[in-house]
Symmetry: C2
Subunit: 779 residues, 2 copies
């Protein structure tokens, strides 16, 4: 084993300054000699793999994923020996898993809906019955009490069982699909809490949605199905071995996240586009097809179950179809002043969206101080927000005066009980309270009320303004408490109210329906916060079944995204950054052009000989966190030191477990390894199931024996020359989804490898830490 | 200059055989010594850049595109000097171009529609008026005559003005976006012929559509707008210099192809998805947004113009809205036997789709013999097919007997003239001819008739069967003649007829509408031929405005694609292959795993010194077709031979034009170059506008002078080690969109670069030519 000791600190700093200088002057870029490749970061970060991030409300280590295909004789042999039947098995299993993910996510989505509508429905029915008897205080206590109990239950689950389940989950799934695996983010416990926490949270009347949690749920389901059951109890399926690698797992989780959106919005095409536009970092045409299949299954499951419930077999579950908010406006013409109004909606919606992002970011930072103090504080915070929400929902409608029911109405007015456009609240019969119709409803029903067409005068401006202010503030305040909470519904709710306000104000001037204005307002807010375009557009189309409004929705989305992009980044990107997840963008940052690969490599480099002493390997595995080690052939085995390839920690552990040790430095060869191991023994195990160093029982005398690393080394690692521009190395690293990128020397006569670039080395914080001047000039 | 002379032929062959042997035995993969990296292909292909392909109906050379960013001090300086105002200019221009592409494509799409409906409408009106007067023979001559004239006009345009405009154009656009530029494929003349040839072709009553041509038209428009006008007449715009590179041009053309689909189908979201799923090989999130903007503009333009025409200001232009075939079926429930029927439609549709692809391929191969003989033969073939089509359209309805008009009908029956569900033809008044209602209509109207709901008994089974057989055969026979012709419409037409046949047969058993069956049949055929899923699904949704049928359409698409994939490849992939375009798939072929990068490199390698003799450069440019040359520093400038980087042919030409020559071997440096050239002098010119070797006027005495290549060399070329697995090199090449990939030696003491991989080296024909045994085992 060879520890490449670098130069002393002064020299390292000199190297750093040289790079900055090169950056500064820009033209004399030729002085990189030998020492530019020396590791500079030893003091700053001893161990490149122990990165941490805030996941949910806790701090936990994150790990990089590896999408590189290991090619060497052992694995090539494995691949070559795959017979036709195995390829067939793989294809069948791939589609079966997609089917199962679709089925499971569809069922969970339906169950979620069913539970929420029944729990929230019961709560609202109880409250409104008590109010009919004029027992207003009792009604409030019943309403607020149920809310607090549900909120406390959700927060307790989150705080004690799976802290990773808090929040939306979309940033974490996005980071996973970018190659960052955070501990327990896709674990079964997270799945459990996400499902039940989300039900409790939505039922508790919070201003939050189930969409983000459903995406996370879909991803967890996909991970769980691909991983199989416990190997100890023989619950796993041997076929699943094909999926024990990061690449296939990534594909499954992409399908899962698409299925989650499809289940939440009943929007299969929107789900596919969401996965493509927001969630996934890598995309292939084959994946498009599989994702589409999964979401089609979700749609079929949901449609079937909703059909089944239509006859009233599901308690208080609503009678809606696959289209959640069926807006069938007949008007499809608009004049110039309508267009001006719509442009204004888009522009102002963008400003509001950016403001929302800013406030959410502030709130999250504030709450993280409270959440850090421990589980009881998390629960307390949740209860406080719940009480605040209950007070708003129950208290504010008292300020609205009663409106007489409109005549010639097909609907019941006033409605008593669960849903309906016209809530009775404190009003005498024949009258309704418009603010209560928005507040004392489930969020879905409130959106339906806002989107409904032909109801120009149902809501007064004052009520809409109060509702808008309350929802906007509550939406900001709710996100960040320790329960599963999505952002789509608050944003749609606030946006629809805003759109309806504009529509009501413009009522006399415009031919367009106020429900349509509400739809456009929702689009403008979604564009302003999420910064998605095509997927939001398709999701809105699928939600409302109104294809003729497409050009208007597109226009509003484009405007609001453009305006909001001037202020800050999309809410999910912002959260990924805030959580400290080392997300890699598709493009390289401009300042990377002024650095070369050799400037940022971390050290010390630890490498192995082709046939290495067992003790050295064990020591390296124990005292470093590195996941890849270069293997270098030295004179007995080659004329000059020569790079054989890269061995992975997990493969080393399996090899050591197999104990193909020799007394002297001899190559045992590939056949020995193939005899001892099956083709899938080296495949990556699921979360927490891989071999650990402690699992090895290596005897004292074996430490001085030798093991041949040639068979398991990846003989075709991707390499860059040390003088390669860092921006081009970053593009290579990102596009190919690497975990390790070998840096080789430019001039001969030096070791055959001078360093390894990992994801960490491309993170702006790392680079800017090394070269503080870089950021100032080009931001 | 240094010509790396390889070993003699026997050794080269030995190298090849060694690689095959390694493949065969699989395990002894370590014997690659020095000679494996020697060029093997010298005898097989002297010049790697002179590839040819069949474009349109002609053979022409193809060129690779280069998406690599050149990084060196000159270009870095250029980038760094870009001020904020320039970045702002770039962004504004990017969006302006997207806007202009949208506007232009929308206008062209509308103009196309308008012209077709007027010309075809006039023809049909004339025919039907003559028939009313019982002048049947005159009617046939009028009908057939107009068809032949239009067909001959289209074919003449195609054959003499722009042969590249023949056919669909989608395969060529797809290849362009993959990095293959075929001569004149996006030229203004091609655009002109594509627009007018398509109008004439569609009006001539051929069984072909305008969708493929519209995609090609959109791409041409994008290319033309990005390229600007003539520089000679100062018609170009200096801002456009930002777009003088392959990367930005690719983005523009992606937008253009999406706009084309959006204009053809009036389907903005479908257009984006088409570009994503079928056309583009590289995709970025930013592109999604821009493409979406472009298609939104197209939708707005179309909507505006259609609104304008609604009041009858556009002659015979139809009164349809943005939704082409508005199918509003109210039935959205289906039982088990419906599902079985739908599954059967999907499965059988897949078989038909694969058969269609097979037959189209056969026809193309047959026609290419005729088309090769020259322009008159192309025109003759077109006229023959036109006569055949006219005979079918006019002749076959005579065999159908008259049907009495149904009572209680809102529509006019029988209709006389252009469109309408009930054509009079030879029938007495009060009766209609159902076959004539399909044949003697524009293709769009025939599809609308087939999709129409509530018309179970309008078409008899026998008529539908005749129509199906005729359309299927004519569709196959028409594609491949020398006129712009799309495949979407024939496939939709045949599929809808097939679906309607199934629907009519199942009529008594099923609650579903026959129009819906027609839609599902069209979906099954589209899935079976195009093999697109999400985009076809969305396009069908946008065509028919029927969101509730989504799960069924998805199911049918998935089934038909799966079935058809068992037989052959998608029609566009097949055509790309048949035309000989060196398309690179996203994944590496399995046999590439058994080869290393060194096995396939072509030679001889021609490299330059850091400061090179002008004569050597001129000679190399004249006698090779290479586009990239490695630059190697040698002992006066460095201790050992060292790779400086790669210079491109186009940059060399510009540098030579600048004549920064010195008498001795001295480095002139970056400043000199920056003084002589502006930042955009090195940018890539548009088609046929770049500097050519003949444009240089280098004096005899200058040939012995020297020029410093350091400033223009790309100092960060991507490299692979010669022992890198070919499959991993292919992934690197493809994902990063490279044109040149440098192969460096594994062991020291050899030249610093042993070869350059180009697109050509990854083409299966090349590899299988080298290693004939490879293909047998793994196909």
């Amino acid at each position: 084993m060879e520890h490449q000791e670098g130069n002393n600190d002064i020299e390292s700093m000199e190297g750093a300054w040289r790079a900055v200088e090169r950056y500064g002057s820009g033209l004399n870029g030729k002085e990189e000699g030998g020492s530019a490749s020396e590791p500079l970061l030893r003091k700053l970060t001893g161990n490149t793999t122990s990165q941490i991030a805030i996941i949910g409300a806790n701090v936990c280590p994150v790990e990089s994923l590896d999408y590189e295909i290991v090619e060497n004789d052992v694995f090539k042999e494995d691949w070559r020996s795959r017979k036709k039947v195995q390829i067939f098995q793989y294809i069948v299993l791939k589609w079966t898993l997609a089917l199962m993910i679709g089925l499971a996510t569809g069922l969970v989505g339906f169950f979620n809906n069913l539970a929420v509508e029944n729990i929230a429905g019961f709560k609202l029915l109880l409250t409104s019955n008590l109010m009919l008897e004029h027992r207003y205080l009792t009604a409030f206590f019943a309403y607020g009490g149920i809310n607090v109990i549900l909120a406390a239950a959700a927060a307790t689950l989150c705080a004690y069982v799976a802290p990773a389940a808090a929040g939306s989950g979309i940033p974490e799934v996005k980071a996973y699909l970018n190659g960052v695996d955070a501990y327990s983010i896709l674990a079964p416990s997270t799945l459990f809490v996400k499902i039940f926490g989300s039900i409790a949270g939505v039922s508790a009347g919070f201003v939050l949605g189930k969409e983000g949690p459903m995406v996370h749920t879909g991803a967890c389901i996909a991970n769980l199905l691909g991983q199989g059951g416990s190997r100890k109890y023989h619950l796993t399926w041997t076929w699943l071995r094909y999926f024990k690698n990061d690449r296939d797992r990534r594909d499954l989780i992409t399908c899962g996240s698409a299925a989650g959106v499809a289940a939440a919005f009943r929007a299969p095409v929107g789900g596919v586009l969401f996965a493509l536009e927001e969630a996934a970092s890598w995309w292939r045409s084959a994946l498009l097809w599989r994702t589409f299949f999964t979401t089609a299954i979700v749609a079929v499951v949901l449609k079937g179950l909703i059909e089944y419930c239509r006859s009233g077999k599901c308690g208080l579950f609503g009678k809606g179809g696959l289209i959640m908010f069926d807006v069938s406006s007949s008007v499809s013409t608009y004049n110039t002043q309508d267009l001006i109004a719509i442009v204004a909606i888009g522009l102002i919606g963008g400003v509001f969206g950016a403001l929302f992002n800013y406030l959410v970011n502030m709130t999250l930072r504030t709450y993280s101080f409270i959440n850090k103090k421990g589980a009881p504080f998390k629960i307390l915070l949740t209860i406080i927000i719940s009480l605040l929400t209950s007070c708003c929902s129950y208290g504010l409608p008292w300020f609205a005066s009663c409106i007489p029911c409109p005549e010639d109405l097909q609907e019941e007015c006033p409605t008593v009980g669960r849903s309906g456009n016209f809530k009775n609240f404190q009003c005498p019969s024949g009258h309704y309270n418009d603010l209560a119709s928005l507040f004392l409803n489930t969020n879905d029903d409130a959106i339906r009320n806002l989107f409904s067409g032909g109801t120009e005068n149902e809501f007064r401006i004052s009520s809409l303004l109060v509702f808008f202010a309350a929802i906007f503030c509550l939406g900001v305040a709710t996100y960040g408490i320790a329960i599963p909470s999505g952002l789509f519904i608050p944003v749609i709710l606030a946006g629809a109210t805003y759109g309806r306000i504009v529509g009501t104000l413009l009522g006399p001037l415009s031919d367009l329906d106020t429900g349509l204005f509400a739809l456009l307002g929702a689009a403008s807010f979604l564009g302003g916060t999420m910064r998605m375009t095509v997927s939001v557009c398709v999701i809105l189309l699928e939600l409302t079944n109104d294809l003729l409004m497409l050009p208007l929705v597109m226009l509003v989305l484009l405007l609001s995204k453009t305006v909001a992009d001037c202020f800050n980044r999309g809410v999910y990107d912002q959260m990924v950054k805030m959580k400290g997840l080392p997300f890699m963008e598709a493009h390289a940052e401009p300042y990377m052009r002024n650095l070369v690969a050799g400037d940022v490599i971390s050290g010390p480099l630890i490498s192995f000989s082709g046939v290495e002493r067992v003790g050295n390997i064990v020591e390296a595995l124990r005292f470093t966190g590195h996941n890849g080690f270069p293997v270098i052939n030295e004179p007995p085995f080659s004329d000059a030191p020569e790079l054989v390839g890269l061995v992975l920690r997990s493969h080393l552990l399996v090899l050591l477990k197999g104990k193909i040790f020799t007394m002297g430095r001899v190559e045992t060869g590939v056949e020995e390894v193939l005899q001892r191991f099956g083709p899938f023994d080296f495949s990556k195990a699921g979360l927490g199931k891989g071999l650990k160093l402690e699992d090895l029982d290596i005897l004292e005398e074996e430490l001085d024996m030798f093991v041949d690393l040639h068979p398991i080394a990846n003989t075709s690692p991707y390499t860059v020359v040390e003088t390669m521009s860092l921006s081009k190395a970053a593009v290579l690293f990102r596009e190919l989804g690497l975990r390790h990128l070998c840096v080789v020397p430019k001039t001969p006569g030096r070791p055959p490898i001078v360093g390894i670039l990992t994801r960490h080395d491309f993170v702006p914080e790392h680079i800017l830490g090394l070269f503080p001047h870089v950021s100032h000039r080009h931001k």
